[in-house]
């Protein structure tokens, strides 16, 4: 019994982190004995690590690096259902753009944008532009946000004009980019028009 106690004491000194037990933290942080597998966003043994790649279908809209070439969100109504899409900023891809037009005849309307992305890689931000390209608003912390595990989430709510055209820019927020080694990310963006409360 005493020997067992001693074994338990000694054995308890070293953390034993299961491969894949954790998702990568900011700056691809992982336990010392593991590394970040960029496709799965998981901390695994170094021999199983693979390089970052965008999920299938997320790059079909490229090139979308300018407002005019941005992906069009169609069929929005004054109070719309939520548009949701997965996207990816691959290495070397500075930004993605979406564009939409508000239906005419809406008495009052606002756009609600929500973006979630992996905390392991470079943080992202959302900027709302008007038809001229002028910046209208940037994201802020979400109220009652419940990001997924290993993800961060940002929100943008802005009153807009009925019949107007707008652009949504998704770009790197800067910082936490592994000293330049993880300047990429995967994200999910949700856009919805609603009546201001």
């Amino acid at each position: 019994m005493r020997a067992l106690f001693l074994i338990v004491l000694v054995a308890g000194c070293s953390p034993d982190v299961l491969s894949g037990a954790y998702l990568c933290g900011p700056n691809e942080a992982c336990p010392e004995t593991q590394a970040c597998d960029e496709p799965t966003n998981s901390c695994v043994v170094p021999s199983r690590v693979s390089a970052f790649s965008c999920p299938s279908g997320t790059e079909n809209t490229e090139p979308d690096n300018t407002q005019p070439t941005g992906t069009v969100i169609a069929n929005l109504e004054c109070v719309s259902s939520q548009y949701s899409d997965a996207g990816c900023l691959a290495p070397g891809d500075a930004q993605d753009w979406l564009q939409f037009t508000v239906p005419t005849g809406c008495p009052a309307v606002e756009v609600e944008i929500r973006i979630s992305y992996k905390v392991a890689f470079e943080p992202l931000q959302v900027v709302l532009h008007d038809a001229t390209g002028a910046q209208l608003a940037t994201d802020t912390a979400c109220k009652n946000s419940d990001p997924g595990q290993g993800e961060d989430v940002r929100c943008l709510t802005q009153t807009i004009i009925s019949g107007g055209s707008y652009g949504i820019e998704i770009k790197a927020a800067g910082g936490d980019d592994c000293d330049g080694a993880c300047q990429f990310n995967r994200y999910t963006i949700a856009v919805q028009l609603a009546t201001p409360s």
Binding site: V8, L9, V10, G12, C13, S14, P15, D16, V17, L18, G20, A21, Y22, L23, C24, G25, P26, A29, C30, P31, E32, S42, C43, V119, A120, Q149, G150
Partner: protein, 187 residues
């Protein structure tokens, strides 16, 4: 008291006394290395008694072995070292348990779905650091305890052996109608 010794001697030493005339004279030392016999004791003289025989050496020495006590300084030093060792080992146990606690906090049995955060990294580092500290304090405590044990053995005061060479002298004292036999012993 002396009278009691005399009476006791008369009872116990009577056979020796009776056999005394048959005793062979003391043999010369067989080798030069044999210790020289103790000097002859003076004749026993007691009031009213007449010494008849000179003191005789008894055949068997009395060996008395006495264990010495540790002095208080030695006990204090040993207790201090052992106590320090116990305290150091106790500190080692504290760090060991702290290390174990931190290690358990970051050692899940299955995927957690949670990100590796700074807090978890802090627990991970604490597990390592406390483990190292535990090892150091275990080592120091163990060394102190071993030192105390070795010193306990090395500084054992040992025992003192005293060899007593008893002698006796028979006495004969005339009494009305007879005589009283007795003996005195010296060491």
């Amino acid at each position: 008291m002396r009278l009691a010794w005399i009476l006791l001697g008369s009872l116990v030493a009577t056979p020796a006394f009776a056999a005394e005339p048959a005793l062979p004279p003391p043999a010369p030392p067989p080798t030069p290395t044999e210790p020289t016999p103790p000097p002859a004791l003076p004749l026993v003289t007691m009031p009213g008694m007449t010494p008849e025989y000179p003191p005789q050496s008894m055949r068997k020495d009395i060996v008395v072995t006495t264990d010495r006590d540790r002095d208080s300084k030695n006990i204090a030093i040993l207790a201090s070292i052992a106590g320090a060792g116990a305290i150091l080992a106790g500190v080692g146990v504290y760090y060991n348990l702290d290390s174990q606690d931190a290690a358990n906090a970051v050692s899940p049995r299955m995927p957690t779905g949670a990100a590796w955060t700074a807090d978890r990294q802090a627990d991970y580092d604490r597990a390592h650091e406390s483990g190292v500290k535990a090892g150091i304090f275990y080592g120091l405590g163990g060394a102190a305890l071993i030192t105390a044990t070795v010193m306990f053995i090395v500084t054992a005061p040992g025992s003192e052996t005293t060899v007593i060479h008893p002698h006796y002298a028979p006495t004969v004292a005339p009494t009305p109608g007879g005589a009283m036999l007795g003996g005195t012993w010296s060491f």
